[in-house]
Symmetry: C2
Subunit: 297 residues, 2 copies
């Protein structure tokens, strides 16, 4: 039995189990670290009856993923009050005395979708979430891409359509980067209406598809994924999928010569299959990885 | 002893040897496939005295890298006359009867730099070439990123600075994608002067650094490389490095929290160390990979 924590900036989701058919979860708001992490630890202890083999954590960031680093397992320079330099993985490991796997929230969700969802049997794919922020996790040759730190894909620059869109963008670091133009808060800020309340025929959705397609095109050309999973609150407007695929096809313009991209775009850009449970299920996969690594050492 | 072929759209470079200190090369113009490939094969045969263990090919593309595909080892949909559906790897394998490794020209160069050049001991880095086209090869977790086809990074969209630059871009597929705005032919077409003849204080270099920095920022945020190697004909204008680093720092604006990117940008964006020999030396690495794989089977 494994434990999982999806540590989000707004809420924590914790789970105990072995997979989608055997998963007991709880969720609660993210307050200050001690209380929030304490609550997660208590749930994992009580729900497992002390039988956990390992715990996996998918966390909001930025986080330190370098196992050789003195701050490995920390949330580092987040703007979220109280959470800077928070030793999240260490607190869980110390309390539960089991191996702890640690990765970004989007990497965890990608691993969950790879095991049980829309990315099964793929060696190379991209998991994206479009909501409060825009984040991406990439699996390359069957392994999570971390690199120097971890990707921050939402902050790429794409052409800003100044003819139709005078909005300056809301990213405090970059103004009109993709997240600054196309995250949920950007839509709210630009139109004065929350994304979920914008009518389906509003110009906002046309622009949203336009910008997201630019992001997808850039990532498709850079990462050459076998599939792109596109989730998050903004995508609850499911009409967006058709528009994004249409704009993406126009942007690529036949250049990527693969039937998956030329002909079968509706199988190439897809929603995740695990919905809101992708992150916590991915936590189980991270727990298993941590357990197996220990086993090998 | 291994053989290597760097198959470019303009010229072929062939080599025989074991590394930078032991490499005999020849180069000749790319004409039609039969004559060009035949010449490469003859060189490899004669120069090795029939003692080759394997050959590695880094090729212009697009190419088919899927070992299970019926057209594995082919150059596929290139616009270059005569080279469509050309079985490059097969022709070499049939003539020389040794294992043949096959990858893109930029992936080969990346592998060469990883073994002997500016990317030694890195698990995650990006090799870029800015010349007739813009191409990138990525090493992720120590392995080449191929994915669905292979990356075509040069064709990402970045913001087009229409205030300073009315040029429409020269990419036949995408107009003002990065390659359409910042390749060597784009500079020639925009200013009516070849890139190497533009004065160092020309606006063209300011724009060139601006666009390339946008590409580098997007790739840094997407791939999280430990280093970016930046080569190709356009970068012979070495003043570009300082300008690109300056613009890149402005674009990232402190968001990627790593000393490598915040403080040590002159060690983060660097020229390749193997110069014009990166591709052919990478061919030796591909040959070794092909030989070792055979050994294991």
């Amino acid at each position: 039995m494994f434990g999982a924590i999806e540590a989000g900036g707004t809420k924590f989701v914790c789970g105990v189990g072995t997979g989608p058919a055997d998963l007991r979860t709880i969720q609660f708001p993210t307050t200050l670290p001690e209380a929030t992490i304490g609550r997660a630890i208590r749930f994992l202890q009580e729900e497992s009856g002390g039988e956990l083999k390992a715990v996996g954590i998918g966390s909001f960031g930025p986080i330190d993923l370098h196992s050789a680093s003195a701050t490995f397992g920390y949330i580092t320079s987040t703007p979220k009050a109280g959470w800077q330099n928070c030793n999240l993985a260490g607190a869980v490991r110390d309390a539960l005395a089991v191996p702890v796997g640690f990765d970004t929230d989007v990497d965890a969700a990608a691993l969950g979708e790879a095991r049980w969802g829309a990315a099964q049997n793929l060696s190379d794919f991209l998991y994206l979430t479009i909501g409060t922020g825009i984040g991406g996790g990439a699996i390359i040759n069957g392994r999570v891409l971390h690199g120097l730190v971890h990707p921050e894909m939402g902050h790429i620059r794409v052409p800003h359509d100044l003819v139709r869109d005078a909005y300056r963008g809301c990213c405090p670091f970059h103004g009109d980067c993709l997240e600054g133009l196309a995250s949920g808060p950007a839509m709210q800020d630009r139109w004065g209406i929350a994304a979920q309340d914008l009518p389906a025929d509003h110009l906002g959705w046309t622009l949203e598809a336009h910008y997201l397609a630019h992001g997808l095109a850039n990532w498709a050309l850079t990462l050459s994924p076998q599939r792109i999973l596109l989730g998050g609150g903004v995508l609850r407007q499911s009409q967006l999928f058709g528009r994004i695929r249409h704009d993406l096809a126009g942007l690529l313009n036949g250049y990527v010569r693969a039937t998956e991209v030329i002909r079968d775009l509706d199988q190439y850009v897809v929603p995740p299959q695990l919905g809101d449970r992708a992150g916590v299920l991915g936590g189980l996969v991270l727990a298993e990885h941590a357990y197996t690594r220990l086993d090998r050492e």
